[in-house]
């Protein structure tokens, strides 16, 4: 190994705090007489300082928040708990919409057309920016009635990719007006669809698509 290559390695190790006393003294003696290595030392110090700031500790609560908000965890929730949570979410969403509705920015909207599995159904989706998330307002009509272990699910669609916008049920006339929250990236998906799902079910969408439409970003 040439002198310069060896001292470059010592420079790197010094930045990482891994130089022995003997090597430190040897390096200092060399730097005193070698402008090239002094220049290298300065450049590496800048890079080291930048790298040292490349990662900072995240707030302690953040990991729990990230993990708790992974959308596909629902299949681990017992059906009755999921139904209860859905009811609470609907109630809270309705209350929230009543008091705070109309103040958010429209991010996208879609008109929903039926497939042959739900002829006569229709609906609309409206996305509104709210803080770091999107609020999804969904109105559907004329959907087939569900069995007690079934629900409908809204999906944001791009090619083969789907992310869930949440589940909902309909009344005896196949109607629902629902307010849900979705990840802020949802408005980047070009289409939406609604499938009929069975609970507890596969986290992926079923093949029973009942409504669909193109999402227009605004």
């Amino acid at each position: 190994m040439s002198d310069h290559r060896r001292f470059e390695e010592l420079l790197a190790l010094r930045l990482l705090g891994e130089l022995g006393h003997g090597e430190e003294r040897e390096l200092e003696r060399h730097l005193a007489v070698c402008p090239q290595c002094r220049e290298e030392a300065g450049a590496l110090r800048l890079v080291h300082d930048e790298l040292s700031g490349a990662s900072v500790p995240t707030p302690p609560h953040l990991k729990d928040r990230v993990m708790a908000n992974l959308p596909r965890r629902r299949w681990r929730v017992p059906g009755f708990l999921a139904a209860a949570a859905l009811l609470v979410a609907l109630l809270l969403g309705g209350v929230y919409a009543q008091f705070f509705g109309g103040t958010d920015t429209l991010a996208g909207e879609a008109s929903l057309s039926p497939t042959e599995l739900a002829s006569g159904a229709s609906g609309a989706v409206r996305l509104e920016e709210t803080g770091s998330n999107l609020r999804v307002k969904l109105d559907v009509f004329g959907l087939p009635r569900l069995r007690s272990d079934e629900y409908y699910e809204l999906w944001f669609v791009e090619g083969d990719e789907r992310i869930s916008g949440g589940g909902f049920t309909v009344d005896n006339e196949g109607r629902a007006t629902v307010t849900m929250n979705a990840p802020s990236a949802a408005d980047e998906y070009p289409a939406v669809g609604i499938t009929r799902e069975k609970s507890p079910g596969d986290p992926r969408p079923s093949l029973t698509k009942v409504l669909g439409g193109d999402l227009r970003r605004t």
Binding site: L46, S52, G53, A54, K63, R65, V66, M67, S132, A185
Partner: protein, 210 residues
């Protein structure tokens, strides 16, 4: 637009779902461990695997958020959005095209740009809650025009990324890196030196050295 998962861990390495994956040396490098973890996310919806990726990269993404969005709350949102995207898009990760570190950096960079654009375009009314900007005001650095340290890191070879990720993102010593990667200590030292020189070359082109 979506591509299937292309993974480069040979079956001969004794991979098992849900458990540790080891190569012939009994250790996995960062690159292969990342690939094994994202595969578990893609195929099994394994949140433990995502949590491990979070432990390694969340600090890097949070730091990006603080640098470019200058708001702790937005930086937290960035971390959440990025890992939610990783969760959803895990199947689109192609290890033959980029390392996981490079891939997640691109996801974070795109999301940062989007959040910054939305933040700038949103008028702040007198009644809205004030944003808690960090020191430096609103003169957010232009992400597209800067090669910052994370971008430079993402451009390195997997071998160079590995030693710097372990040293700087995980705070491991050279000896610990040697043990973690089953690589001779001397090789780790020379690889770290080469990695620092490579990243310096990216960040400080000739003539900008100080």
């Amino acid at each position: 637009m979506m591509t299937s998962v292309t993974l480069d861990i040979p079956a001969a390495r004794g991979e098992t779902w849900g458990g540790p994956v080891e190569d012939k040396r009994g250790k996995l490098g960062v690159k292969d461990e990342d690939v094994a973890l994202i595969r578990r996310v893609a195929e099994n919806g394994d949140d433990d695997a995502l949590a491990r990726l979070y432990d390694r990269y969340a600090g890097m993404i949070y730091a990006m958020g603080l640098r470019y969005l200058r708001d702790r709350s937005l930086a937290e949102d960035l971390v959440q959005d990025v890992f939610t995207s990783v969760w959803h898009k895990a199947k689109s990760f192609d290890s033959s095209k980029a390392s996981f570190m490079t891939w997640i950096y691109r996801v974070a960079r795109n999301r940062t740009t989007d959040m910054d654009r939305k933040r700038r375009s949103r008028p702040r009314s007198a009644g809205s809650e004030p944003l808690t900007y960090l020191a430096g005001g609103e003169d957010t650095r232009n992400l597209a025009a800067n090669i910052d340290v994370t971008e430079a890191l993402s451009r390195l070879s997997p071998e160079h990324q590995e030693v710097l990720v372990l040293a700087y993102l995980e705070g491991r010593t050279q000896n610990e890196i040697a043990l973690a990667t089953a690589t001779p200590l001397g090789t780790v030292k020379s690889r770290t030196t080469a990695a620092l020189k490579a990243i310096r070359k990216t960040m400080l082109p000739e003539g900008e050295k100080r």
